[in-house]
């Protein structure tokens, strides 16, 4: 691949790519997201490749192994373009028929299309399926359009034009200003304005600055970052380079999961391709801006997603958080100013630069702008990854997109934000998706994992489950978190067996209050959020776990067990 040395060359390359491509040419987009691969889509991919080869259709039909389409529930998914015919639950045996009937014959195969389980209405095209119809897919829509392994596919849909615009038409200060004006808020959980964070790092006194992609995504049930990062790694990389330019960083780090081989491959490949094109390294696109990226992996521990812990891990040490009276944006990796943002936050940057902050702020609510990826899971008909504008109500997400609760059960509660989030009862599902509104009702959005619980799920059990997860994940550095969670778990365990004692609920409240104040990092500070919110809304279930016959808690029993 030739190195690109200017903005003009980039545009010429893009034009060249597009002119070689017939816009009406068929292509088959086969989902290779984690869900579909788990369902055996690798065999479907091989079957398509063999079938196309057998019929010598290589010049007429293009196969794109894409990132997650989002509709994981009905996977493996295959989309036939340009008609956008959407097939679900495809098996390798269906492949010859799809190629002869649909790709060549332009006929829709009835048994493979989506049928609404309630109305029986069939939808052949992606845009007609209720799951997709109710979404606003800004970021993830590209997943079906590109082969995640090919940079040229990304170029073909306008990739790296935002980078070129930023480098040649804007000063770093202007880029920063645009992001600030767009009011892009961090998607990792805090919802802190990204622009302000960038500015802090930019203004920090040290010369060497770092930018970091947090793709750790340890939150159970959260799969959005993986969907974007695996499916469209260049969009994240482009955002990162733009951010580095605005901040003045010459070195970036990608911190992500080690246990997804495909994610790992796609990131390494994307970096390699970007380097060859001159989009990374010295003198990017001939602009004089230098920037390099290194990849680091979490090695299976939740707390390393916390910013200061993550930075310790990049240094090759134990991921133990540190107190943040000096923020990581001023003193982070190797004590240098380090700006860390979530995968989704970075992926938002190119479109803000391309389309402008005015367009961006037209989407969403007053204080939360743009769209948000949500990963729907738990007891819901359509689990998967969805993208909606801020302001969409939870009811719309659960019923219009998610298809409601399976097996005729009733919705009981909605849990947001994973092990450190909160649950709200069904009566509050008209709350809009908004950082502040959700925080107010006690279900902070976190990274966007939305868990649906039906009437059979017991809140005490669910909370106990989260605490059990967190006892294993607490790094153990500070006492309130390490010991506090253990004691909460101990109490919750006996309550879930119906052996709770009088005064247990008050004790739970007392411990969680101390943990909230005294813990070092947000893991400990928010570890009792699920407890607090479910106590707020489902106190009766806790009271049911208290046995009248058992004497009140004896303080001495709370001393750690001796072995």
């Amino acid at each position: 691949m030739p190195r690109i040395n200017s903005a003009t060359e980039l545009e010429e390359l893009r034009k060249g790519l597009l002119s070689k491509r017939d816009p009406d040419k068929s292509y088959i987009a086969i989902c290779s997201g984690t869900g579909c691969l788990g369902l055996g889509n690798d065999r479907v991919i091989t079957a398509f490749e063999q079938e196309i080869k057998r019929l010598s259709l290589e010049t007429q039909v293009d196969i794109r192994v894409t990132g997650c389409h989002g509709f994981c529930e009905r996977g493996p998914n295959v989309v036939i373009y340009p008609e956008e015919i959407y097939y679900i639950q495809v098996t390798p045996e269906d492949v010859p028929e799809i190629v002869s009937q649909t790709v060549l014959g332009k006929q829709v195969i009835d048994r493979l299309i989506y049928e609404d389980p309630n109305t029986g209405e069939k939808s052949a095209y992606q845009s007609d399926i209720p799951f997709y119809k109710a979404q606003m897919r800004q970021l993830i829509s590209n997943n079906t359009k590109i082969d995640s392994r090919r940079i040229n596919d990304y170029m073909g849909i306008g990739g790296y034009s935002a980078l070129s615009k930023a480098l040649f038409e804007m000063t770093p200060a202007q880029v920063l200003e645009e992001v600030k004006k767009a009011n892009l808020r961090g998607r990792g959980g805090g919802g802190f304005p990204a622009g302000l964070k960038w500015e802090t790092t930019r203004n920090a006194p040290e010369k060497q600055k770092y930018v970091i992609v947090n793709g750790h995504e340890g939150e159970p049930g959260a799969t959005m970052d993986r969907a974007i990062f695996t499916g469209n790694p260049h969009s994240v990389l482009e955002g990162l380079i733009i951010g580095a330019y605005a901040i003045g960083a010459s070195q970036g780090f990608i911190y992500t999961r080690h246990d997804s081989p495909q994610l790992k491959d796609n990131i390494y490949r994307a970096l390699e391709q970007a380097r060859e094109y001159g989009l990374l390294g010295e003198n990017i696109l001939g602009s004089g801006f230098n920037f390099n990226v290194e990849v680091h992996f979490d090695v299976g521990i939740f707390v390393s997603g916390e910013s200061s812990a993550l930075m310790r891990s990049i240094e090759g040490r134990n991921p133990e958080p540190r107190p943040k009276y000096i923020r990581t944006s001023v003193s982070g990796v190797w004590d240098k100013p380090s700006n860390l943002n979530n995968v989704e936050t970075w992926a938002n940057v190119p479109q803000i630069i391309n389309k402008g902050s005015q367009w961006y702020t037209s989407i969403g609510t007053e204080r939360s702008k743009g769209t948000k990826l949500i990963s729907l899971s738990g007891n819901i008909v359509n689990s998967g990854v969805v993208e909606v504008p801020f302001g969409t109500t939870l009811r719309q997400i659960i019923y219009d997109i998610g298809g409601g609760i399976p097996n005729g059960k009733k919705l009981k509660a909605v849990h947001f934000g994973g092990a450190m989030g909160g649950s709200i009862p069904a009566r509050l599902i008209d709350t809009p998706l908004d950082f502040d509104a959700l925080k107010k009702v006690g279900a902070p959005m976190g990274a966007g994992a939305l868990m649906v619980m039906d009437e059979d799920n017991n809140m005490v059990d669910v909370t106990r489950f989260f605490l059990n997860f967190l006892t294993n994940e607490s790094c153990g550095k500070c006492v309130p978190c390490r010991e506090g969670i253990r004691q909460l778990l101990k109490i919750m365990t006996r309550m879930s067996k119906g052996n709770g004692r009088k005064g247990d609920i008050e004790l739970l409240e007392e411990i969680s209050e101390v943990m909230g104040v005294a813990s070092l990092c947000s893991l400990g500070k928010t570890a009792c959020d699920p407890l607090k919110s479910s106590l707020r809304y489902f106190r009766d279930e806790y009271e049911a776990g208290i046995s009248d016959e058992i004497a009140p808690v004896n303080e001495q029993e709370l001393t750690p067990e001796r072995v």
Binding site: H296, R317, G378, H415
Partner: protein, 382 residues
């Protein structure tokens, strides 16, 4: 000498020397000349001693404690006559119970090795604060004591025996289970506990086990994939991985991660080598290797099985699936079964929530598995 001074060690030394019975006699409770507690201490020692005898298959009656004050000469004679009569009826130690003399020595040796530990445990967990003989007897006959004894001493005893056997010669799990008379899954459970308690020494012995499995030609299962468990780490591969990352700051985690994925576990030799080559203190290497959950300090089975325990899978009933898998394999999360076929882990969420609950074997997902289907899934792996 006060009966309270009769140590467990004395008692078992007597048995080791081939004595058929041990009699301890002394002042009545409440008549102690010293701290008024000596004879209660003796009572507790006697109860534990008898329990230990029972554990190793000997008649607990071989140890007897009687209250006889200095003025009770005739009672002393009566008791002694009775004791020797009973001992004669029981027969010589070991023979009476039908235990092979060599085996008996092994068991007694294992108990003797345990005594310092038992004394510690006794002080921490089994010390009775009661003040009457009846209460003592009641406590030592209770289920609570049985459970504590099993947890604290019973398991430890089996581990000590396993270690003693392994130090003599390499054994397969099967042999161990036959010699010890416990089930293979119990053996593997003890080995895992041992691995958690004292790494270096036990790793060594686990190697012996793995190696022996191989030699014995575990014919039904032995194939090339065995190498994950038995093969000695290939130094060249390891050196190459280290070399690739050398000189880069923060390379330690990368190196450990790649070796883990190559070798499936990190032996002491590997950790030493990394420490030496990267010039990082071993304590730092150990700190990282023990902190991150992905790193394993004991060998893994040929197949790594994970049951996703993420929230979504939990809501869909993963805990029942986990129970069923544990029953099928006879091991708990974090353990490896006796013939090194499966290692079980409870994987955190891997992002296939729509497939939940799921079992992941060697990276392959099996989605929407009900507890009843678990056997079907695992059957496909040899």
């Amino acid at each position: 000498m006060c009966t309270g001074r009769v140590d467990l060690a004395f008692i078992f030394r007597a048995f080791s020397n081939g004595k058929d019975g041990v009699f301890v006699g002394g002042c009545w409770p409440g008549e102690c000349h010293y701290i008024t507690e000596g004879n209660y201490l003796a009572l507790s020692t006697m109860h534990i001693g008898r329990k230990l005898l029972e554990m190793i298959g000997l008649d607990p009656e071989r140890l007897r404690l009687e209250w006889i004050s200095a003025s009770e000469g005739s009672r002393y004679a009566e008791v002694m006559n009775d004791f020797s009569k009973k001992m004669k009826a029981s027969g010589p130690i070991g023979k009476g119970e039908g235990i092979d003399p060599e085996e008996l020595n092994l068991r007694l040796e294992a108990v003797q090795n345990l005594i310092p530990y038992i004394k510690l445990v006794e002080r921490e967990r089994l010390r009775v604060t009661l003040k009457s003989v009846e209460e003592y007897n009641e406590f030592f006959a209770s289920d609570e004591f049985d459970q504590l004894f099993q947890e604290l001493i019973g398991d430890k005893f089996q581990i000590t025996r396993i270690m003693a056997l392994l130090r003599k010669k390499p054994c397969s799990n099967k042999e161990l289970s036959e010699v010890l008379g416990i089930s293979p899954s119990e053996v593997s459970r003890h080995l895992n506990t041992a691995a958690r308690q004292g790494l270096g020494r036990v790793d060594e012995s686990r190697n012996l086990i793995a190696a022996a499995c191989d030699e014995n030609g575990n014919t039904t299962t032995s194939d090339s994939s065995d190498s994950a468990v038995t093969a000695a780490p290939d130094n060249d591969t390891i050196d190459q991985i280290i070399h690739e990352h050398q000189g880069k700051p923060g390379s330690l985690i990368h190196v450990l991660m790649e070796i883990q994925s190559e070798n499936h576990w990190l032996s002491k030799e590997i950790l030493d080598r990394i420490s030496e080559k990267l010039d990082v203190p071993l304590s730092r290497v150990m700190q990282i290797a023990t902190f991150y959950k992905t790193f394993s300090l004991s060998p893994k089975g040929r197949h790594e099985v994970h049951v996703c325990t993420g929230t979504s899978c939990h809501l869909r009933g993963a805990s029942h699936l986990m129970e069923s898998v544990q029953d099928l394999m006879g091991i708990r999360p974090g353990e490896t079964d006796s013939d090194a076929k499966f290692s079980l882990g409870n994987g955190n969420c891997l992002g296939c929530c729509s497939l939940g609950p799921e079992i992941i074997v060697d990276g392959k997902h099996h989605g929407r598995v009900t507890p009843a289907m678990a056997e079907e899934v695992l059957k496909n792996y040899a």
